[in-house]
């Protein structure tokens, strides 16, 4: 598997105003470029998956800010390097 510099951001929780704005702003502050977004709201539950390029980001700081933001908004926000998903679901 070649080395990639992308990560997957998953956001799950109750829908409120401005989730995407806040998460995108945090990513921008850490120089992470959004490559793809998919988002659904199912019976009030907000589900968002973002693929981001983190070549220019410092992972630890970005992760910390997203976790902190998740606490503020009452959501679960995770960022994981995308290799873990490739490893699990592709041969």
């Amino acid at each position: 598997m070649e080395k990639k510099n992308t990560a997957v951001v998953t956001v799950v929780g109750n829908d409120t105003i401005g989730i995407i704005a806040r998460v995108s702003a945090a990513l921008a502050r850490h120089d992470a470029n959004i490559l793809d977004i998919s988002q659904t709201v199912l019976s009030g539950m907000f589900n968002m998956i973002m693929i981001v390029d983190i070549s220019l980001s410092r992972f630890a700081q970005l992760e910390e800010e997203l976790t902190q933001l998740g606490k503020e908004l009452g959501l679960q926000i995770r960022i994981q390097r995308s290799e873990i998903f490739d490893a699990m679901h592709r041969i």
Binding site: T10, I49, F59, A60, Q76, Q80, A87, H89
Partner: protein
């Protein structure tokens, strides 16, 4: 491109089904450390381990953060201490150096206070076995193991007798903490050289200078998959479901192993395919067996269920990793698995049934608490029985048994944390004293004429 449902499945496995990497274990050769002088031996070992494993814990933490998966333990295994201490003659020096180095590097356990005596014992092996009570009661993080049998060499019954006595003496030396020292000693048959799991990890004589071995986990993930995909289905579906799930779990292990090895600049050794449980709810191997339709783990049918599970995990895992090794079999430690604890407490699971279960899976009678007044000869006989199963079936078996001082059947021992708690199990009241007193060796079994 990975799709949404796959991403959410991975996240669910980690957040809800307790998928984790159980351990990253760095194996370090201590051959270069041997020295006749005690102080020099201590310094050589301490320096070697602390230098080699300096970044191990930090790297493990970085990987946890970046891949979003918990790595529960970071550990070290070293060359069997009886080999390294032979020139000096005092193995306890090695234990102290190992303990100090473990604390400095921040690992929670270090394995390799070990003697390999399946064929016979050197003076150094004897000294190490004799030192076990002191080593395990005066150090904090050192884990010990003794290999007393192998399929090629038979069973060294002198070593078995000494180990039975050692278990009793360790229990006595650590009686204030319910014989907690016994948790740190594993007596093996056919011990493997690249096992990443404690307490039986050591860096075998056939290993290279240094390597990274990874132990996976994920009983909760397997159980959930069976609930969703195989409810009421025939065993063919059960086996297929377990295989597919084991593949996914193992791929994560392989990824972490490869990353750890490249960041630490140390060769990748193996991924161990064992499903390791914890006492936490939803992390139990026994519950997988119960999901297959058994009322309680330990009832009739348990051995068959375990055989299927163990085999399917391996079949799924082998494809997922470039090098598979270690113990690679379902673990059934009684105190570390909430389903096993409950089964033992309600009387469904006996020592005899556990012994039968160890015929079809790794790794033996693990974390079993027995009455404190169990004689040393009975413990030795339990070890001999397990060793015989391993020897005849060409597999690894082991005994990690805790004769809890002052406790009897109906009582419980609480170890805390990952070690959990264990109801005291009944042992046969009849004596094996004369059997164990014989000593000598049980010859290696015939490996042909199998009809």
């Amino acid at each position: 491109m990975i799709n949404t449902s796959e991403i959410l499945q991975t996240v669910r496995m980690i957040t809800q089904e307790k998928l984790d990497i159980r351990t990253i274990t760095m194996g370090i050769s201590l051959y270069t450390c041997a020295h006749p002088d005690k102080n020099q031996l201590y310094t050589n070992i301490y320096d070697r381990i602390t230098k080699q494993a300096e970044h191990l814990v930090k790297t493990g933490e970085d990987l946890e953060r970046e891949f979003g998966i918990p790595i529960v333990n970071k550990r070290i295994s070293v060359t069997p201490a009886s080999l390294v201490a032979a020139a000096c003659g005092d193995p306890i020096v090695v234990a102290r150096a190992m303990d100090a180095a473990a604390k400095e590097t921040g690992v929670n356990y270090i394995g390799g206070y070990t003697a390999l005596v399946q064929k016979g014992m050197t003076a150094s092996d004897r000294a190490l076995i004799a030192s076990l009570p002191e080593a395990l009661s005066t150090t904090e993080r050192v884990c010990a193991s003794v290999n007393v049998a192998s399929t090629r060499a038979g069973i060294d019954m002198d070593a078995v007798r000494l180990c039975g006595q050692a278990v009793k003496d360790i229990a006595e030396a650590t009686r204030d903490t319910d014989a907690s020292g016994c948790m740190k000693l594993v007596v093996f048959a056919n011990a493997v050289e690249d096992n990443p799991f404690m307490a039986g990890a050591f860096h075998g004589p056939g290993e290279g200078d240094c390597c990274i071995n990874v132990g996976i986990s994920g009983p909760g993930v397997v159980k959930h998959a069976l609930e969703v995909e195989a409810k009421g289905q025939p065993f063919d579906v059960v086996a297929e479901t377990i295989k597919k799930t084991a593949f996914k779990i193992t791929r994560v292990g392989q990824l972490i192993a490869r990353e750890a090895s490249s960041r630490l600049g140390v060769p990748f050794g193996i991924v161990d395919l064992s499903l390791a449980p914890t006492p936490a709810m939803g992390d139990s191997v026994a519950h997988i067996l119960e999901e297959m339709g058994l009322e309680v783990c330990g009832c009739h049918g348990t051995t068959a269920a375990l055989a299927l599970l163990n085999d399917a995990v391996k079949k799924g895992g082998v494809l997922a990793s470039s090098h598979v090794g270690g113990l690679s079999g379902a673990f059934i430690p009684v105190s570390e698995d909430i389903g096993m604890i409950n089964a033992a407490a309600c009387g469904a699971l006996s020592l005899e049934k556990l012994e039968a279960m160890t015929c079809v899976c790794s790794v033996g009678l693990d974390m079993i608490a027995v009455p404190g007044d169990t004689p040393a000869s009975t413990i030795a006989a339990i070890i001999a029985d397990e060793a015989a199963i391993g020897m005849v079936n060409s597999k690894t078996t082991a005994v990690r048994i805790i004769p809890a001082p002052g406790k009897g059947v109906g009582d419980e021992v609480e170890f805390g944390g990952l070690f959990g708690r264990a109801p005291i199990m009944r042992v046969s009241p009849y004596s094996a004293e004369e059997f164990i007193a014989r000593g000598g060796r049980i010859p290696a079994p015939l490996q042909s004429l199998k009809n």
